[in-house]
Structures are given as structure tokens and as C-alpha cells.
């Protein structure tokens, strides 16, 4: 193993740990009523965000969805600015305008999270078209859920991406549920990857709780998209450990299912892999875990101590460059 590969594995471990700890903290803050609104946790799905983002280059774009904290952090987003946004503070990523469902750092190529299920794929196409027309080799990673694949917009987007041969990697986070509805009850096919066939698009299904498998699939897919071969779809089989939103008691989950999936928890699994193959020592990993814990704590403190935005700032950012919409009220 080269030093570069080792570094990348350590980055994956650190980033998955960061997402896990941040999500756990966020859920705790939410239950303590310190976070307003509602939020969707990606706890358990860390390997998908991290495996995919590890395969992206700096100019690439990312389209997120309503369960987007992990995407942001995996793309290099800052934990403190994320926490501040979730608490509705001025220092947050979106100045308090967006919150959990709209969290994004556009400077990292993230073209928004989304509160409307299935609205991401058409936007990903636009970015892919733009990358192509501007003559760059940038690609787009577009995350979507199993449930989102039932929206018309998803199907329109896949077809168009193929017809225009756009550099988009569609990444399905198949976490087995669309809200309370299990996959078999909402989807006419067994694998989301099967849907790509209707658009003559290559697709694969991977173990979404194995960060290296996701990464490998995304490296291949990114290469496919970047080399002008058009769009491709990766279905990652994963599981959310919490309910649909934080506070959802998850009563629709059958007995034993959680325990079953917990045996495949992506983080202990990757940790064991790193240790068994002498890629990292126990001390090294524990040090990372402790550093991340400190970072997450500091991020929470930063968020808590940040002020709320000035109420009048609600009037800003409605339009670009002109203000009439604001005074004309």
C-alpha cells in the first residue's frame, strides 16, 4: 500500500467518524430543543457520502438532498459552520436562512441540499451540461434516495442525461425506506440500479456500508463520466439507524432489522479492517476519535455562542443585484 492510499484511508476513517459524531450530537441537540425545525440524520449512511466524495476532484459538483449533513462534511465542509446553521445562527453556512434541509457550501461545488424529494437530479444535469459546455472535465455527483426514484423528475433527468451524454454520477442511497414505506412497497423493481436500464445507462449495486466498495465504484464511475462516456448510476445499499427525522420513533421497522444492520455498521467495520491489515494502529485511531470529539464539541460551542441573525436580514438575498422586492411591500 502506498503512503497516499494509506492517507486516503485515514481520511475516510476520520471523515466517517466526524459525520457519525456530528450526527449524534445534532440529534442530541435537537431532542434538547436547541435546534429548530426538523432534521434528517444520516447516521449509519456515512460510508456512502465518504466513499463517493473521496473519489471526487476539487472542481467537481455535488447535489445533495434532505439528508445532507454527511455530504457536506464529506465534501470538506466545516463542522462549526454547519452546527451554526442548524442552530439558526448568523455565522451558519446559509446565514440562518436554510437550516438542516438546505445546508450547502457552494464554494465546495455543492449546489444545495433539497427539501423537495427528487428535485436534485435535473439540477445535476444542468451542472453536468455546464461543465461540458465550458470544456472542463468536471463531473457531478448527485445523491438521491430510494424513495426519490419514484418521482417523475428523476426519470426525466436520467433520460436527458443519457441523451445528452452528461458527466453525472447518480448515487442512490438506498436506505431501505422512503419515510415509513419499505422499498418493496414503494418500488416496482427490486434494485434501484435496474431503473437505469430503461435509459440505457450503466449501473451497479454495491454494499453501501463498505466504504471501500463505495469508493471503488465511484472511482470507476467518475472515470466513466469524466472521460465523456456519459452518466452512470451507483446504488448503495445502506440503512439509516435513526428514524426518518430525528424524533421519529421508527415503529414501522420490524424487530431484529436494526440489530441485523448494526452488525454491518460501516464505521466499526472499517476500523476493524484498518487494524487487521496493519494500516493504522489502535492508538492512531483512538487519537483521531478524540480529535474529532473535540472538534465537534468546539463546533457546538461556536454555534451556541454565535448570535442570531438580525431579523431585518430576512429581506436580503431574495433577488440578486436589486432591492425593489424588499422595499415594495
Amino acid at each position: 500500500m502506498t503512503e497516499k492510499t494509506r492517507e486516503s484511508y485515514i481520511w475516510m476513517f476520520r471523515t466517517m467518524t466526524r459525520i457519525r459524531q456530528a450526527e449524534a450530537k445534532v440529534a442530541e441537540l435537537y431532542m434538547a430543543a436547541e435546534i429548530p425545525g426538523f432534521l434528517h440524520s444520516s447516521l449509519g449512511q456515512e460510508a456512502v457520502a465518504v466513499g463517493v466524495c473521496a473519489a471526487l476532484e476539487s472542481g467537481d459538483y455535488l447535489v445533495s438532498h434532505h439528508r445532507g449533513h454527511g455530504h457536506l462534511l464529506a465534501r470538506g465542509g466545516r463542522t462549526d459552520l454547519m452546527m451554526a446553521e442548524l442552530l439558526g445562527k448568523e455565522s451558519g453556512y446559509c446565514s440562518g436562512k436554510g437550516g438542516s434541509m438546505h445546508i450547502a457550501d457552494v464554494s465546495l461545488g455543492i449546489l444545495g441540499a433539497n427539501g423537495i424529494v427528487g428535485s436534485g437530479p435535473p439540477i445535476a444535469n444542468g451542472a453536468g451540461l455546464s461543465a461540458k459546455l465550458r470544456g472542463t472535465s468536471d463531473i457531478v455527483a448527485c445523491f438521491f434516495g430510494d424513495g426519490a426514484s419514484n418521482e417523475g423528475a428523476f426519470h426525466e433527468a436520467l433520460n436527458l442525461a443519457k441523451v445528452w451524454s452528461l458527466p453525472v454520477v447518480y448515487v442512490c442511497e438506498n436506505n431501505q425506506y422512503a419515510l415509513s414505506t419499505p422499498l418493496r412497497d414503494h418500488c416496482a423493481v427490486e434494485n434501484i440500479a435496474d431503473r437505469a436500464a430503461a435509459y440505457n445507462m450503466p449501473a451497479m449495486t454495491v454494499d453501501g456500508n463498505d466504504v471501500l466498495a463505495v469508493h471503488e465504484a465511484c472511482v470507476q464511475s467518475a472515470e466513466h463520466a469524466r472521460s465523456g462516456k456519459g452518466p452512470i448510476l451507483i446504488e448503495c445499499r445502506t440503512y439509516r439507524f435513526l428514524g426518518h427525522f430525528v424524533g421519529d420513533p421508527f415503529v414501522y421497522r420490524p424487530d431484529g432489522e436494526e440489530e441485523e444492520w448494526k452488525t454491518r455498521d460501516p464505521i466499526p467495520r472499517f476500523r476493524a479492517y484498518l487494524l487487521e491489515n496493519d494500516i493504522a494502529s489502535k492508538q492512531e485511531l483512538e487519537k483521531i476519535e478524540a480529535e474529532v470529539a473535540e472538534e465537534v464539541d468546539e463546533a457546538v460551542q461556536f454555534a451556541k455562542h454565535s448570535p442570531y441573525p438580525d431579523p431585518e436580514s430576512a429581506m436580503e438575498h431574495v433577488y440578486s443585484d436589486w432591492q425593489w422586492g424588499n422595499e415594495y411591500r
Binding site: P36, G37, F38, G88, K89, C94, G96, K97, G98, G99, M101, H102, N114, G115, I116, V117, G118, S119, G147, A148, N150, E151, G152, A153, A178, L179, S180, T181, D185, H186, C187, V251, Y252, Y308, P309, P311, E312, S313, A314, M315, V318, G325, N326, Y328, R329
Partner: protein, 332 residues
């Protein structure tokens, strides 16, 4: 009289109409067993009526409303749930071009007895894609009825009337009202579509307010009453058809009118009512018509921002007070 929540009142209306008429059925995302819909309105209905009549759907709003349209044209009375009104962006074609117009375009050959139930409104930091008040969009589409009840009693009576009506109805609930309690008769009743309700009588000014703003207006009226301003609060309850008589009668009596709603002020229902008053009660006015809608922005996430954008009792009271100072035009 017994007291139940707005949520329970909606659920009772659905259950009673389903018992009464076997052509009534429900469809929507996660409305069935084990979840009971995003707002828990349909909890228990699947157990009573089975999953043929309480149909869980995939996340496919166009397919949901389209199925309601086709069902309505062929003998059923579908009641579709759209989890948040914001999602109508996904299925607007089925609502705007299909449900609203098929009767007209076929020269009256068909009827469209369907209801789309959907919650709107802000107040819970749900941000710009889960907190909109889009009622006026639908008011602008001939063929649709638009209903926006505020009290548990009204929501039950109007939903029953909507289900029995043979027109497509956009039935807008308010997400912040589901836990609100109020008196609801146990015996059978409906509330006629197109009838406003005077929620509080007063002599000096009319406040026409919709849905959650009715409560804000009543709160403001209490405060203003102590200051010697007697406020009449009128709740239109249905926007299309609008009970113009009740509104005009109130304005003719008080000589002042403030129009309050949670949709953005620009082109809101307040603008329509202002025009109505200008056309039909101008001579009775002692002060220019005033509007108080949400500020013309998307709904922001952070609580202080959201509070700034959405009208509340304090802003209603302030606006009313300003209407008892010397009459000044806004730009003067």
C-alpha cells in the same frame, strides 16, 4: 360541547364521509398503517377502512393527483393528501391543467369530485420549501375551490362539505393548528362552502384574517379592546367562493378594514378583498384599506427571521392603531 383538536376534527370528517359513502377513499404518502401521514391525521383510518381505501403511495405527487382526477371522472370521490403544500410544485399540472379544467374543456360532460388536502403555513422553522402559504396560487385558477379553515369546528364541517361537493377542492390545513382545540358538535353537520364567519363582533374596524392569523387577530382584538378600539374579526373560511356579502357588510358597518394573511402580501387574497372593498364599499371607508401579509420573501429558517416575516398579533395591533391616527396614505 365536547372539545377536540383540529387534527381529530379532520380525521372525524374523513371517517364519517368514508362510512357514509363507499366511493370516498384516501391516497397519499405514508398515510396508511404504522404512520398515519406526515401530520398524523389519518392514524387509525387504515385499521377501520383497510388499505384498499386508505392507500399508501410512492413519493409521486403527479401520480397521486392524477389518480384522483381519473378516479373522480369515473365514479369515485378521492381525497388525496399532499404532505406539505410546497410539494404542489411537483404536481401542479394535474391540479392546474387537469383537475381544474377537464369539466370545462369537455363542455360540462364530466364532474371532478376530488379533494386535495394539504397543510400550509409557517411557524415551525421549516424553511422555504416546507412553510409556504400558497393559497392564492389556486385562487387564480378558475375551476378550483379553495378552502382554508381555522377552527376545529370549521375544518370538520368544511371538509365534509368539500368531500360531498362535485368540484375539485384544494383544502388547505394549517400545520400549526393541528393541536389547537375547540368545540365540535358530536352530531352530524356540515359548514357550507362559501360562507364567512364573524369570529368576533366589533364596531370600529374589520380585520379579515385567514387561518392561523384569525387567532392572531383575536388576540390583537383583546388588547385593542382594552385600549378602546372595538375590532370585528371576519374569517372568510373559503377563498373561492368568497363570501363577499359578509365581508362587505362588516366593512360598511365599521368603516375601516385590515386584511391579514400568511401568504406574501404581494398579490395575496388581501389584494383581492381590497379591490372588492374599493369597488363596492368605497363610500363607507373612513381610512384607506390596509393589508398585512407576510413580507415578500421566501420563509427563512431561523426563528427570529421567520418571526420577522410572518404577521402576528403585535403587528396586527400596531397596524390597527395606526389606522386610528390621521388618515395618511402610505407614500405621503
Amino acid at each position: 360541547m365536547r372539545t377536540i383538536t383540529y387534527r381529530e376534527a379532520v380525521r372525524e370528517a374523513l371517517a364519517e364521509e368514508m362510512r357514509r359513502d363507499s366511493s370516498v377513499f384516501l391516497l397519499g404518502e405514508d398515510i396508511g398503517k404504522k404512520f398515519g401521514g406526515t401530520n398524523k391525521v389519518t392514524v387509525g383510518l387504515c385499521e377501520e377502512f383497510g388499505d384498499e381505501r386508505v392507500r399508501n403511495t410512492p413519493i409521486s405527487e403527479s401520480a397521486i393527483v392524477g389518480a384522483a382526477v381519473g378516479g373522480a371522472m369515473t365514479g369515485l370521490r378521492p381525497v388525496a393528501e399532499i404532505g406539505f403544500i410546497d410539494f404542489v410544485g411537483v404536481c401542479m399540472d394535474q391540479i392546474m391543467n387537469q383537475a381544474a379544467k377537464l369539466r370545462y374543456m369537455t363542455g360540462g360532460q364530466t364532474k371532478m369530485p376530488l379533494v386535495i388536502r394539504t397543510p400550509g403555513g409557517a411557524g415551525r422553522s421549516s424553511a422555504a420549501q416546507h412553510a409556504q402559504s400558497l393559497e392564492t396560487l389556486f385562487c387564480h385558477i378558475p375551476g378550483l375551490l379553495v378552502i382554508q379553515p381555522s377552527s376545529p369546528r370549521d375544518v370538520k364541517g368544511l371538509l365534509k362539505a368539500a368531500i360531498r361537493d362535485s368540484n375539485p377542492v384544494v383544502f388547505i390545513e394549517h400545520k400549526m393548528l393541528y393541536n389547537t382545540k375547540g368545540e365540535v358538535p358530536e352530531e352530524e353537520y356540515t359548514v357550507p362552502i362559501g360562507s364567512a364567519d364573524v369570529k368576533r363582533e366589533g364596531a370600529d374596524i374589520t380585520v379579515v384574517a385567514t387561518q392561523r392569523q384569525v387567532y392572531a387577530a383575536l388576540e390583537a382584538a383583546d388588547v385593542l379592546g382594552e385600549e378602546g378600539i372595538s375590532v370585528e374579526v371576519v374569517d372568510p373560511r373559503t377563498l373561492v367562493p368568497l363570501d363577499t356579502e359578509t365581508i362587505l357588510a362588516s366593512v360598511r358597518k365599521t368603516g375601516r378594514v385590515l386584511l391579514v394573511h400568511e401568504s406574501v402580501e404581494r398579490c395575496g387574497i388581501g389584494a383581492e378583498i381590497a379591490a372588492l372593498v374599493a369597488e363596492q364599499a368605497f363610500d363607507y371607508l373612513d381610512y384607506p384599506v390596509r393589508r398585512l401579509g407576510a413580507r415578500n420573501t421566501p420563509v427563512p429558517f431561523s426563528p427570529p427571521l421567520e418571526d420577522f416575516v410572518i404577521p402576528n398579533a403585535e403587528r396586527i395591533a400596531d397596524t390597527v392603531r395606526s389606522m386610528f391616527q390621521t388618515a395618511v396614505y402610505k407614500d405621503a
